[in-house]
Amino acid sequence: MTGLGSNPRRTLNSAELSRLSERLGLLLRVGVLLSAAFLVAGMLVAASSSGPASVFPTGSTGGKPSWHEFTDDGAAVGLVLVGLILLVATPIARVVLSAETFAAARENDYVLVLLTVLGILAASVLVGLFL
C-alpha cells in the first residue's frame, strides 16, 4: 500500500530498527545522566547550605506535604525539580523520537500506537493536575 506524497509506505528493515535502537539508547543514557547531574547538584546545594531540618515530610495532612514546605531551600529544590522533569521527559522523548522515525517510514499504524502512548502520558498529567 502506498500513501500520497513522495515517500511510499514501507516497513523499517532490521538495520533501520537497529539504528533507531542505538539512537534511543543514546537518548536514554544522556537523559538519565543529565537528570542525575541535576539531582546530585540539588542534594549538594541542600547539604552545603543550612538545609531543611529533615528530608522527611511532616505535612499536616497525613504526611502528604504541600509544596511550600520546601521553599526554604529554593535553590536545592529547584535543581532537583529540573532533574525530575528531565527524568520524566526522557521516556517521553524516546516515544517522540520513535514516532518520528516510524512516521518517516510511513508505518502509520505504529505512529498511531506511539501517539496513543503519548496521549496516555498527557492524560496522566491532566489527572494529576485536575483530579
Partner: protein
C-alpha cells in the same frame, strides 16, 4: 529522628543496595525501596510509592540504554504493549494517589504489596522467569502488527528468527503489570517478562531487554500523576533515584557467577521479610 545529612546518606545507601540487588536479578529496586521507606523511615506509603516510581524511571533508562546497543530491544512489540502498560500505570497511580487514601487505603496497599512481594519471592526462588520459551500458536494479530522478529547473533550462537503469538493475552498481562507498577511503585518487569516469554514466545534475553525499556514509559505514566498531585518529595526522591541508578550501574558491571544464587537468596529473604512486616502493618498488628 535523623538529621538532614544522615537521612541523605542512609537513603543513598539503601537505594544503592536496592539498585544493585535488583540489577543482578533483572528487577528494579521498587520491591525493596517502598518497604524500606515505609518501614525504616516512616514515610507515608503514597509518597514512598511516588518516590520509588521515579527511581524506577531512572533505572529503566539506564538498563534499556545498555540493551539498545546490543540489538535486544523488540521495538514494535515494546511499543505495542506499552499502550496497555501505560494505561495500567495510569490506573494504578490513580488508585494509589486518589482512591486508596486514609488508613484503610494505606492498609489495603500494605497487604497488596505483601502479596506481590511474596509472588516475586516465589518467582525468583524457583527461577520460573527463566522457563523455556515454546513457540505459541499462530496469531493473525501478530502478523498484522509485524511482531515476529529475530534474536541477534552472538559470538556463540547464530541469529534466530522467532514467531510471536497470543497477543491479546500478552496485552492483558501487560495491563496488569502496569497497574501493579502505578499502584505499588515497582517496575512491573516481574510480570512483563513472563508475559513476553511464556505467553507470547519471545526469547528471554529480548523479553528482559524490551521489558526494561517498557518499564520507563509505564513508570512515567504513574509518576506524572504523583508529580502533579504533589506527592513527589524532591529531597527524598533525589537520593533514592541517584542511589538506585548508581547501584544498578555497578550491578550490571559486576558479573559474578558464583554469587548469583546467593544474591537470589538474599533478595528472597528481603522480600519475605518486607512482605511479612507490610502485612502486619496492613492488618493493624503493628503501627507506624
Amino acid at each position: 529522628m535523623l538529621g538532614f545529612l544522615e537521612s541523605i546518606v542512609a537513603l543513598l545507601l539503601i537505594a544503592v543496595g536496592a539498585g544493585f540487588l535488583g540489577s543482578m536479578l533483572g528487577l528494579g529496586g521498587g520491591l525493596v525501596i517502598v518497604p524500606a521507606l515505609v518501614l525504616l523511615f516512616g514515610v507515608d506509603v503514597h509518597l514512598a510509592v511516588a518516590t520509588s516510581l521515579v527511581s524506577v524511571i531512572a533505572t529503566s533508562a539506564g538498563s534499556a540504554s545498555r540493551y539498545a546497543g546490543q540489538g535486544l530491544l523488540h521495538l514494535r512489540l515494546g511499543f505495542f504493549l506499552e499502550v496497555a502498560t501505560a494505561l495500567g500505570g495510569l490506573l494504578g497511580a490513580v488508585l494509589t494517589a486518589l482512591v486508596l487514601v486514609g488508613s484503610t487505603g494505606d492498609n489495603i496497599l500494605f497487604v497488596v504489596f505483601a502479596v506481590v512481594a511474596i509472588s516475586a519471592a516465589v518467582l525468583i526462588a524457583r527461577d520460573l522467569r527463566r522457563g523455556g520459551v515454546a513457540t505459541p500458536p499462530a496469531d493473525p494479530l501478530a502478523d498484522r502488527w509485524r511482531l515476529h522478529a529475530t534474536l541477534p547473533a552472538t559470538p556463540t550462537s547464530p541469529e534466530r528468527p522467532f514467531r510471536v503469538g497470543r497477543v491479546k493475552q500478552g496485552m492483558g498481562l501487560s495491563f496488569v503489570a502496569g497497574v501493579a507498577s502505578g499502584l505499588l511503585g515497582i517496575g512491573g518487569g516481574l510480570y512483563k517478562v513472563p508475559a513476553m516469554t511464556g505467553v507470547m514466545g519471545v526469547p528471554m534475553k529480548m523479553a528482559s531487554a524490551t521489558s526494561s525499556m517498557m518499564i520507563g514509559v509505564t513508570a512515567t505514566a504513574g509518576a506524572l500523576v504523583f508529580l502533579f498531585q504533589g506527592d513527589v518529595v524532591p529531597l527524598l526522591t533525589a537520593p533514592v533515584a541517584v542511589g538506585t541508578l548508581t547501584g544498578s550501574f555497578v550491578g550490571t558491571r559486576i558479573h559474578t557467577t558464583a554469587s548469583s544464587s546467593t544474591l537470589r537468596l538474599i533478595f528472597v529473604g528481603v522480600l519475605i521479610a518486607a512482605a511479612v512486616l507490610m502485612v502486619l502493618r496492613g492488618l493493624g498488628v503493628t503501627s507506624a
